[in-house]
């Protein structure tokens, strides 16, 4: 690993839970932007934990407006900078998975389609954490959340995780990438690239949430890595429409290793029929492996 830049633009003192993957993701992403940047942020854990008036963790100008408009607000910031001839200033929009792939999809789609020079970062912790772990369109199949609880007749979330990376790519934007807090160099490089490229770019960062996923705070990074090593979260870039630089996996791990430490999947190991559900998840990983040629010979 290379040495990380010392400078923090998302500083400590915020109120995120111990071991929060989102806070780590934001910290790394902010190392990838320079001081000459403006950030917007959707309502969610990141916003709530970082801006309790009169305190702030943000060392760059930062604006939170609403839950579902981070992209549109950023578009407005960028338009204003263009009007003022200050295109040298970077604009970074941020949102959680809910604020991005569900309620914020309209404004995200509009911003991407219109070609604003904005780098959008989605911190994906796979549920609405700020409001108490409800399912989002980004929640993986069979995960138990407070609105898709496991129960006598339920194995948790019934739907497959929405592929927001593909939706972003469908806007014909120059750069789309997935990243993970377990691979900080890769994450920083991707956010840097997203920022440097002229036009709209989209980076989705996988950020485990100890509180919502039900795991110890000291295995956040390990879990994020397991998501990649099992093939459930694929690291890749898409430049000008072409998939590039897929992170290959040596000896892909069975999904159980990733699922087991998380309480949101606990029922799969206890309930009758759980095995098939785990198999279902394994099939998702296998199909990812096939699609992205993940397995390294």
């Amino acid at each position: 690993m290379t040495r990380l830049e010392k400078k923090e633009r998302f500083t400590s003192g915020h109120r995120a839970c111990g071991g929060c993957g989102l806070a780590l993701g934001a910290r790394l992403a902010m190392k990838a932007v320079d001081d000459n940047s403006i950030a917007t942020c959707a309502t969610g854990c990141l916003e709530v934990t970082s801006s309790p008036y009169p305190q702030s963790s943000w060392k760059i100008p930062w604006l939170h407006s609403l839950f579902e408009n981070s992209a549109a607000v950023a578009g407005g910031v960028e338009a204003a900078l263009r009007a003022k001839g200050k295109q040298d200033i970077n604009v970074v929009a941020q949102g959680g998975d809910g604020g991005t792939v569900d309620i914020g999809m309209r404004s995200l789609s509009g911003m991407l389609e219109r070609g604003h020079d904005v780098a959008y970062i989605c911190y994906d912790n796979e549920a609405y954490m700020n409001t108490g772990i409800q399912r989002s369109g980004s929640t993986p199949m069979n995960a138990s959340t407070t609105t898709s609880p496991a129960g006598e007749e339920s194995f948790g979330n019934e739907n497959r995780k929405k592929n927001a990376l593909k939706i972003a790519a469908a806007h014909n934007i120059p750069y789309v990438a997935s990243a993970s807090v377990a691979y900080p160099d890769d994450l920083i490089e991707k956010v840097k690239k997203a920022n440097e490229i002229n036009g709209p770019t989209y980076v989705q960062i996988h950020t485990p949430c100890p509180t919502g996923w039900g795991h110890e705070g000291d295995i956040t990074v390990k879990l994020a890595r397991l998501a990649v090593e099992t093939g459930l979260w694929v690291l890749y870039e898409r430049e000008e429409g072409e998939i590039k630089d897929v992170k290959k996996i040596k000896d892909r791990k069975p999904v159980e290793e990733y699922l087991k430490p998380q309480k949101r999947f606990k029922h799969l190991f206890k309930k009758e029929g759980g095995e098939e559900r785990i198999q279902e998840i394994q099939e998702i990983a296998d199909s990812n492996a096939e699609k992205f040629h993940l397995d390294e010979e």
């Binding site: 801006s51 408009n69 549109a72 607000v73 578009g75 407005g76 910031v77 338009a79 204003a80 309209r106």
Partner: protein
């Protein structure tokens, strides 16, 4: 003043005013009957007559959201909408005022669905009266044009810093051709102070906007907005006066009195309906009736204090509302009556709901209203406080 009169529709008159105010960013979405404003502005940009960044958003929700981003970055910002579009912005409206962003928005007043209706009433802007925006209402195209310029000087005043709606009646003004006097761009620029907000998104001086306000501080945020709206009363008067002096208009005060000197009966309303109201006053005056009218120019901040002063000595006030709160009454009526309670002015008060969904309000209807007010005066009491005027007979239990 030197500026020449030109005949054009109200929407285009507003677009010309905005061109002169020279916003750096426009973010807007089409909706009837507002569309001609933003189409004209697009054309100005396309023809190089206006140097604005025009953001062609995918919804009104994003229009107002982009306005928030732009205004927070220190850019003068404009948008316009109507009806359903204004409602789609609702959540962002509160945000814009909470963040104290002096965005100016044209509202072409239109009814709300269901049933869907593209014609004029005031349900849309009245419905968002608590969003923390200044609301100005125009009677004529000239006034809509002038208010669109004045709005920036009011909104961007450091003691105000509140977003401002310039409301004009859909179709009745937006699509009607009238002669208007358009100030030269230089004159408008000379009239407007430059927009230099104390706080903005700026990497040279990074600040955090849109924090979490805990119970410890939230009330003070709201109080500051409340106080700023209070300040707006004087700022509006001052800006109206300065503008009238500079451009040779007579648009002064939050309200305008019309033949109220010795009036026993006063008709009160806002918007384009004041034309027919004034004409009715004229013809009833000819019949020897002591009747006058008051036009409300600003609904937020509340014009109540000026209204109370103006209706002193009258026996009956008749408030004409182009909106109705289902289960209550018209907005102007309830708000005015509320202020009367703690004043020593105590006329009989009647509320007339008129012109919903574009229903025409001819002179005959206003005469009917005047007659009902007269009757109340004769009886010395109000039997029915709220009445829908020109209701089809089957519903009219009068």
């Amino acid at each position: 003043m030197s500026n020449q009169e030109e005949v054009m529709e109200g929407s285009h008159a507003v677009a010309h005013a905005i061109k002169g105010a020279d916003p750096e960013v426009i973010a807007a979405y089409p909706i009837t009957p507002q569309t001609h404003i933003v189409e004209k502005l697009s054309q100005f940009v396309a023809d190089g007559e206006l140097d604005s960044e025009y953001v062609k958003v995918e919804s009104e929700f994003s229009a107002m959201s982009s306005c928030v981003g732009s205004s927070a970055t220190g850019a003068r910002t404009y948008t316009a909408t109507s009806s359903q579009g204004l409602l789609l912005m609702n959540e962002v409206l509160y945000n814009a005022s909470g963040l104290r962003l002096p965005i100016v928005m044209g509202v072409a007043n239109r009814a709300l669905g269901a049933p869907i209706n593209i014609w004029n009433d005031h349900s849309d802007s009245i419905g968002v009266r608590d969003a923390g925006w200044i609301q100005l209402y125009a009677e004529t195209n000239q006034e809509a044009l002038d208010m669109s310029i004045q709005a920036y000087e009011i909104a961007e005043n450091q003691d105000v810093m509140l977003p401002t709606m310039v409301c004009m009646d859909g179709y009745i003004l937006t699509h009607t051709y009238e002669p208007v006097s358009i100030p030269e761009r230089e004159e408008i620029q000379d009239f407007l102070s430059p927009y230099e907000p104390e706080h903005k998104l700026d990497p040279e001086n990074p600040e955090t906007f849109g924090t979490v306000g805990f119970p410890r501080d939230y009330t003070e945020f709201r109080y500051q907005q409340f106080d700023a709206m209070d300040n707006a009363t004087d700022v509006i008067k001052q800006v109206f006066d300065e503008y009238s002096d500079k451009f040779g208009r007579e648009q002064r005060g939050l309200i305008e009195e019309y033949r109220t000197e010795d009036a026993d009966i006063v008709l009160i309303s806002l918007g384009s309906i004041m034309g027919v109201v004034k004409e009715t006053v004229d013809s009833l005056r000819e019949e020897g009736k002591k009747i006058g009218a008051i036009k409300v120019r600003a609904f937020r901040p509340s014009p109540a204090q000026e209204l109370i002063e103006a209706i002193k000595g009258s026996d009956v006030i008749a408030v004409l509302d182009k909106n109705v709160s289902i289960g209550k009454k018209g907005a102007l009526f309830t708000e005015l009556k509320d202020e009367l309670y703690s004043s020593d002015v105590n006329p009989l008060a009647k509320n007339f709901i008129v012109g919903l969904g574009g229903r025409d309000v001819p002179e005959d209807s206003v005469k009917k209203i005047a007659k009902k007010a007269e009757k109340a005066k004769e009886h010395g009491r109000v039997k029915k406080e709220i009445e829908f005027i020109d209701l089809k007979e089957v519903y009219d239990n009068d």
